[in-house]
Amino acid sequence: MFSYCTDPSTLEGLTWLSCYLTTGKHLSFYASFVTVLVLLAITAPTALLFGFGGATAARSRIAPLRWFGKGYTAIVRGVPDIAFFLFFVIALDQAFEYLRHKVKCPDWEEPIRQGNDFIVCQAAKLPLSTAPQWVHETYGFLLAVLTFAIVFGAFAANVLYGAMNAVPHAQMETAEAYGMSHRQAFWRIMVPQMWVYALPGLSNLWMVLIKATPLLFLLGVEDIVYWARELGGTVNPRFTDYPHGDWRLYYFTFLLIFYLGFTRVSEIVLERLMKKLTHGQATTGGEAQRKAAA
């Protein structure tokens, strides 16, 4: 990175460190923090969407839809996330390619499963094998987002289901008495009010989501723990200009600080959000706010 870094073996102390910490490998490490943050930023709303869908389905008056909603939440939550991640991404990828294959290559006559191989026509490949590397990486990233969203969506569905039930029943009855249809009452009365009941559960879910990121490498995304292991391990002078012993402890300490800091910041933000949501609500918290203002 810096001009004086051409021959690291002659360097010492801080100059050595400044060169060491700016190698391409370290830049990948720093970039992985961005990857993880972006992934969290995309996964959280997606999971919420899945959760909302799941919760609405579980409350549906149409029986198959209700079974689907309840089955989704019950099954996905009963399985440890590692076990899920170990086979689910490949399955998801194959499912997408299978569907594309059916649409794009209806004339294809060879079987898709040949022995152990899973073969679809070239045009159905996701992404196309001619696509540049970044497309492949983005696709892998999106698959990881989707897998995370499906798992955490099941938890979110459970929280939202509880929150929908917690909205005072009288509110809904009043809405219907005013002539609102079932759909109107749901969207105008229940949905705006349920968030305050859901927030404690959802904020915990967010904390869990943060702490599930070390599992990202199972999904093919190079996360911060992967790079910390890779960089911290002993390196032989034959393979690097910066040989060192087992430094995993330092790297993991750095990660520990990152996670604790991230948790703390999240706690503060969520607390503010809770205050805002509580405003004007018929809960003890809302009552307390009203009294304090008066």
């Binding site: 009963g78 723990v225 996670y259 604790l260």
Partner: protein, 268 residues
């Protein structure tokens, strides 16, 4: 080998009894089910022991966090923050590192680097922190009237805590605590996966599932079997905790009894 023989040979393989060599050659479904099920012994062991021990420590921590004195409150707060704020993955790493250091200090600490004790300690501290936060939340939402009524009857001090406050706290916390138990149970799969070495191929269910996945190169059989076992055991936990919940709320009229809903309020 017939399936019965397979079960005889491998049902207790994870604790070192039965056939020494793991199956080779064609890997039958029966072998999959038997060995992965055998590995569940470790998962159940970790979960049960950590929960039992963690429960007591969590009570102490929750009271500590609710205490007036900063000398009691601050350490509890920091302990809970440290364990709830970092991934279990990283906690295992640090713990293993620390145990290795301790081992070189004195042979007294030899057992710590084995998963059976070392990982149990980490899981115990972890679940204690999470449960303490749940109990602390419950402690703060005990109805004022309950405590006032106790005072009016002249029940004070430790007796008031044991007869009034503690049972109420437990009753309020129980649904969330059920979830914590489930998440701890799921977290036991991390023990051999990331942190502790496996001795003599005596591993947990995930270890055997990945053994099969590695040998057959087909992840679509062993991992769903593992998932199935976990769903089954999760149902058992929900049922057991539901029984306790019933007992905790036995004084309430039938209609008012809160049912344990599997709702993740506090999780890992």
């Amino acid at each position: 080998m017939s399936c019965i023989e397979t079960i005889q040979a491998y049902a207790l393989r994870s604790i070192g009894l039965g056939e020494r060599l793991l199956p080779r050659g064609d890997y039958t479904l029966c072998e999959h089910f038997t060995l992965i099920g055998s590995g569940m012994i470790w998962n159940v062991y970790f979960a049960v022991m950590a929960l039992l021990l963690g429960f007591f420590f969590a009570n102490v921590l929750a009271l500590g966090k609710a205490a007036q004195s900063a000398w009691l409150r601050k350490p509890s707060e920091w302990f809970i923050f440290l364990f709830r704020g970092s991934p279990l993955f990283i906690q295992f790493f640090f713990a293993y590192f620390l145990f290795l250091r301790l081992k070189s200090v004195s042979p007294m600490f030899d057992g710590l680097t084995a998963a059976g004790l070392g990982a149990l300690i980490v899981l115990f501290l972890n679940t204690a922190a999470y449960s303490a936060e749940i109990f602390y939340g419950a402690l703060r939402s005990i109805p004022k009237g309950d405590v006032e009524a106790a005072d009016a009857y002249g029940i004070t001090g430790f007796r008031r805590f044991r007869r009034i406050i503690w049972p109420t706290m437990l009753r309020l916390a129980w649904p969330a605590y059920t979830n914590e138990a489930i998440f701890l149970f799921h977290a036991t799969t991390l023990v051999f996966f990331s942190a502790f070495p496996v001795h003599q191929q005596k591993g947990d269910s995930l270890y055997y599932a990945s053994y099969f996945a590695d040998k057959t190169f087909n992840p679509f059989v062993p991992y769903p079997i593992l998932a199935m076992y976990f769903i089954l055991f999760t149902l058992v936990i929900v049922w057991l905790f539901g029984m306790v919940n019933k007992r905790l709320n036995r004084h309430l009229p039938q209609a008012q009894r809160p049912r344990v809903r599997y709702r993740p309020n506090l999780l890992r």
